[in-house]
Amino acid sequence: MEIDGFDAEVLESSRDKSQSQGVYIYQPTQQGKGAGERPSKRRKVASTDASEEPKNHQSFAPLLNGDENAECVQLRYDIYKQLWSVQKQKIKGILEDVDAGVLMDVLSFVRNTSPQTYDPILAKEPETSALVTVGSNVSSLSRLLSRLNDQLAATGDGGVVVLESGDAPNLKTTLKNIIRAAVTNTEGNDGYQKFLTDRAGPRLLGYDLDLLHDYVQRKGTKKLVLALRDSEAFDPGLLTDLLSLLRSWLDRIPFTVLLGISTSVELFEGRLPRSCASLLQGRHFEVQEAGNCVDRIYEALQADLTGRLWLGRNITSTLFERSSDFFQSPEAFSRMVKYAYMSHFFANPLAVLLANPASTMLPQLRICEAIRNLPSFRMFCEDLVQAGFSKEVRGLLEDDQYLLQQTSKHLDTNQQKMRRLFQVVLVIHACLQHTQSSKKTSVSDLSIRALSGELGESPIVEEMLATMKTLDSEKLMCLLNSLPRALFNDAHFSAIQHDIQTLLQTYPDSGPLRSEYNTNSSVVKTTVVQQRVRLSKGKAKLPEQDLEYTKIIDRLVAILQEYFAEILVNPQDLFLHELFLFDLRNPLKETFAPRPRFAIERALASPFDYLFSSFDVTEGKISAKQPATAILYQLYLESGALVNVHDLWQAFYAVFESDQGDSCDERVVMTLFYGALSELKAFGVVKNSRKKTDHLAKSAWMGL
């Protein structure tokens, strides 16, 4: 696959013509230039054998220095597909669930408003427009629209025509686009062409709404939803024209206009002339903000009882940082999660173990070597040695078979630990719903703490337990009932619940039981000691049942503490966490939030960061060995806000002169100078200055 330097040059020369071409279809260079075979012809030949089975290509490259066998690669790919498709399904479900409310509203609105309700005598305006406020959740509208379209199309009622501001440069084009979109929605592109040509009578132009009228009559369309995705971006004048025109056709074409608004209805209305705003009789729908949705998705992905791979704390914090700081849509969020999954299986050869493969399939030697090189393996071994199991460690180090066996065993138990970890996170979250009054901590916050192993000692949990002690029996029962069922498999918990219930039954008349920690049950005494008032808290005398209750509460808190301490381990300490916990911040962050300016500045300011150089590089020194643009950029960095080109050129030349001595050709250096200067200009860091002749103005400062 590699094209060596020589070939590349040959290719380069043959491509000279393609450089100046704006756009062209790629022609493989392996074929002779004389062949001149059109891609269409090739396609014809190919189409005869295109019926053969879809090929089973491998998307993954073999890892472990290329020694990974094909089965493993395939297995990695399969397990990725399998895991992700499960998660994808979950995300889809959540999104649909979130949208469902608005969708139903909009759908019923669309169904129920009909031009027939328009009463010409009373001149009562029909409600024909819906205003959908989207906010930052931009992608939700397209989701909504496509589902609306599906619903309408399924029942044969009609369809949705989506219009973007780019589609509407003027009225004619807009109408044409509307008509074409409406027809192709059901008939396809050919159908539209046929529809245009195959008709009796005079041929109508593409923007004649008679066409649409005809179409509506033929299809028996009851609803034609015209959705303007980015309503604010439309030209107000055009919008006025369009709406009034649609209004006049309303008795023949059943339009319903749907306006997507990202700001607010008032702002949108303010931009329109009053005549236009009065045409819009409609209802207002609000789409849920993205943040909530993202939290739900995260919870579903991580705290699943069958989960096999988890996202670490770095990734979690990156994900939430992005979705809160950058108005990220839920889709973008899930795409980032997807990319994290992709990275894990693409680049981690040990990820294959998540598929529980038969050990015979594995290239044992390399896999075992890889396992033994894991940091967590070393930690595990050290712990074993300290615990006195040095024999077992020897076994792990020397016996491949034993190692694999142990690996799969520990993988299972540690995955189980992760699952329980997230169960605890959910438990805490559920408890917090009852103990925290104002600000509710989200699952993601708790997860980040849990994933870094800090949740057990965190103030949140301590506070929660403290508050729990003060709860009365009613609230406590409420809390216990809201906890996940899985918890009550534990004998202690069921015992506690049982005890409380019996206690309540024994004292049915005493109302809610209070523990001694409750503020109501403590009394404040005031005594005057040496002319000063001293406040002292003392316990009020509690009835019998409350003392009983306090005991139970103490037990519960103790059990919870124990439970938390046992389960809330730091995932990074688990053996094999590299396999089931993906926590590399970098591929994700750099891929989705690139810093191109930083990259370019770095490349130019210290080019040898990128160019692995054979000659010795003196730090921070400009030399002729560097690429010309890098030299010029560094000189540029040294200069002030205004740069004299002549002096810049002299300095640039001096760099080469001092390096090459007499053999330095000034004109060659000048060509380099030209090239470098033009690149700096293309990057937008210099521009012509009018202050002085032959001066440049600096327009970018590195690092700002």
Binding site: A8, Y26, S139, F592, P594, L642, D647, V668, K691
Partner: protein, 565 residues
């Protein structure tokens, strides 16, 4: 700057011979100065031990400060500075004197003097603020003879030493203490040490007159296209192997990119250097990798930097690649129409068929940069079974996309710095000349215009002569009023700015019987337009203003040829 340059040449030649001599001389001066003003020699002993290490250390510091890479060019001459420091060690002495007779006011005066003297002498290295300089001058001015004596030889030995060592003695008595004219210009724009980015910004943008030299490129022959390419061929890139290696590294990512494509992402490559070759190799790779067992994939390559490129043509080509012979004869004139055709075509294709791969070079190049174009590309990217890989060259390209466009693009970005020159993407010579305000280079400058004029009829030549005469006279007028124009008057303000109104020129042309009708006048102008010999723009009031893309010198040259020829 000029002075120093010429001096440095001289210095390089005889540096060995001259420097020791000067050093001796200055040493003598130091002693003289010491003896001249130090009333009590015994103290020197005590001071000497203190001074010596200082004298030793200061040159080091000065070296450190001024050791920019420009040293070789002779723009900076650290030797003088170190000398200046060691010379100026003398004023420390009064301290001991003052210690003997302590009066507060005197003490304060002395220290102020000391400080100001230091400010004046250190201005080269430290780039002191203007205010402190002025204050320092004032303090030194109302100084007594002692300080005069002290200051004078020192300044001269620095400045004159830098200029012309021989003429020093004759000049010295005339010059007042303080800095000589133009010394302020030498303040280095490079701040001392490592400043944080924002400090550096304020440092380089501080108020005050422009402190650059007045040199222009008039004496430097600029490159023509031919020479540029000819010389470029001679250049051997010292980093060739490293760049190849870098490219090979990116090569390894191809499977990853392909996987990302498979998973529905589009790719954006950024980083310094032309990525055209990389994209081309990726196309090769995709073709060979996919083409083994099944239909060859449709790959469309777009060069975003091509001046006349339109989105519609891109879409049309993609549609051709997808549909082949089934392409309808009429595609529609709007890009959206073509896009929708493409989308519906892709929808109806059998599922096992390869998706179409679109590779866009320089998606942030000016022809594609407009928001409308980017929005259309985003819609293309969002189409299922279209894989889009694009490369972006500029540092701030993500600003092109708003949130919804970015959402549609669904990009994963990879840093693929290649360090390859943008040979094809930019017209280097043209760009540089535009940057320098010398647009007319395209037609070959003065020679080119002259050549074209020779082939034009008498009338056209006369019109051009008229145009040039008017422009030159406008420029002359402009100079009288324009303060900013440099005194030498060779450059003038950018020729783009100077222009003559269309109406006015027409009127003059009719007066001189060059053109009898506007029609004819326009025909003549069109000829100039075709050869890019004139520029036309609309001014603020909507008038058409005609100009000539030549520098003033060239205009005068052409005019001379026209009048004489």
């Amino acid at each position: 700057m000029k002075r120093k340059l010429s001096d440095s040449g001289l210095e390089n030649d005889q540096s060995l011979a001259s420097t020791p001599k000067r050093q001796r001389k200055t040493l003598g001066q130091t002693n003289g100065a010491r003896n001249g003003h130090a009333s009590n020699p015994p103290v020197t002993n005590g001071d000497a031990s203190y001074e010596l290490p200082r004298g030793q250390s200061t040159p080091k510091k000065a070296n450190g400060v001024t050791a920019t890479s420009l040293k070789e060019s002779g723009l900076k001459t650290p030797t003088h500075k170190s000398k200046a420091r060691s010379l100026f060690a003398t004023p420390t002495k009064p301290k001991s004197v003052a210690a003997a007779t302590p009066t507060r006011a005197k003490n304060a005066d002395r220290s102020a003097k000391k400080k100001s003297a230091r400010v004046l002498f250190e201005q080269d290295e430290d780039g002191a603020w203007d205010g402190s300089e002025r204050l320092a001058e004032e303090i030194l001015q109302d100084d007594d003879a002692e300080a005069e004596k002290l200051g004078e030889p020192v300044t001269d030995s620095i400045e004159a030493g830098a200029e012309q060592p021989l003429a020093k003695d004759t000049k010295a008595p005339k010059r007042r203490a303080g800095r000589p004219k133009g010394a302020r210009n030498k303040r280095s724009p490079t701040p001392e040490g490592e400043l944080p980015a924002h400090e550096r910004y304020f440092f380089q943008n501080r108020a005050g007159p422009v402190k650059t030299s007045n040199m222009t490129l008039n004496k430097v022959p600029l490159l023509t296209h031919e020479e540029y390419f000819e010389k470029l061929r001679q250049y051997v890139d010292p980093c060739r192997d490293e760049k190849e290696y870098l490219l090979a590294l990116h090569h390894r990512s191809f499977p990853q990119w392909s996987f990302e494509f498979d998973e529905g992402f589009n790719i954006c490559l950024f980083g310094y250097g032309s990525k055209r070759k990389l994209v081309q190799q990726f196309a090769d790779w995709v073709y060979t990798y996919r083409g083994v067992s099944s239909t060859p994939p449709a790959i469309v390559i777009v060069n975003g930097y091509t001046p006349g490129i339109s989105i519609r043509s891109i879409f049309a080509t993609i549609a051709t690649a997808v549909l082949g012979d089934e392409l309808p004869a009429k595609l529609g004139s709007q890009p959206t129409e073509v896009l929708e055709l493409l989308q519906s075509a892709l929808k109806t294709r059998p599922a096992h068929e390869e998706p179409v791969t679109v590779l866009i070079n320089s998606v942030d190049a000016p022809p594609l940069r407009r928001a409308a174009n980017q929005a259309l590309l985003a819609r293309l990217a969002a189409t299922p079974r279209v894989r889009l890989l694009m490369t972006a060259d500029t540092p701030n390209f993500p600003l092109m996309w708003d949130i919804s466009v970015r959402d549609q693009f669904n990009l994963v970005c990879h840093d693929s710095t290649t360090f390859s020159p943008f040979a094809v993407e930019t017209d280097v010579v043209e760009e540089v000349h535009a940057l320098l305000g010398r647009k007319g280079r395209r037609i070959g400058g003065k020679e080119g215009v002259g050549f074209v004029l020779k082939s034009l009829p008498e009338n056209a030549r006369n019109l051009y002569r008229l145009l040039l005469t008017e422009l030159v006279s406008v420029m002359d007028d402009g100079h009288q009023s324009d303060e900013e124009a440099p005194a030498d008057g060779t450059g003038g303000k950018s020729p783009d700015e100077v222009g003559i109104e269309f109406r006015l020129l027409y009127q003059k042309a009719t007066e001189e019987f060059i053109a009898s009708s506007e029609m004819m006048f326009r025909t003549l102008l069109k000829e100039f337009h075709d050869h890019q010999m004139i520029t036309s723009r609309l001014d603020a009031s909507g008038m058409e203003v005609l100009g000539v893309p030549l520098s003033r010198d060239e205009m005068e040259g052409v005019l001379e040829d026209l009048v004489l020829g």
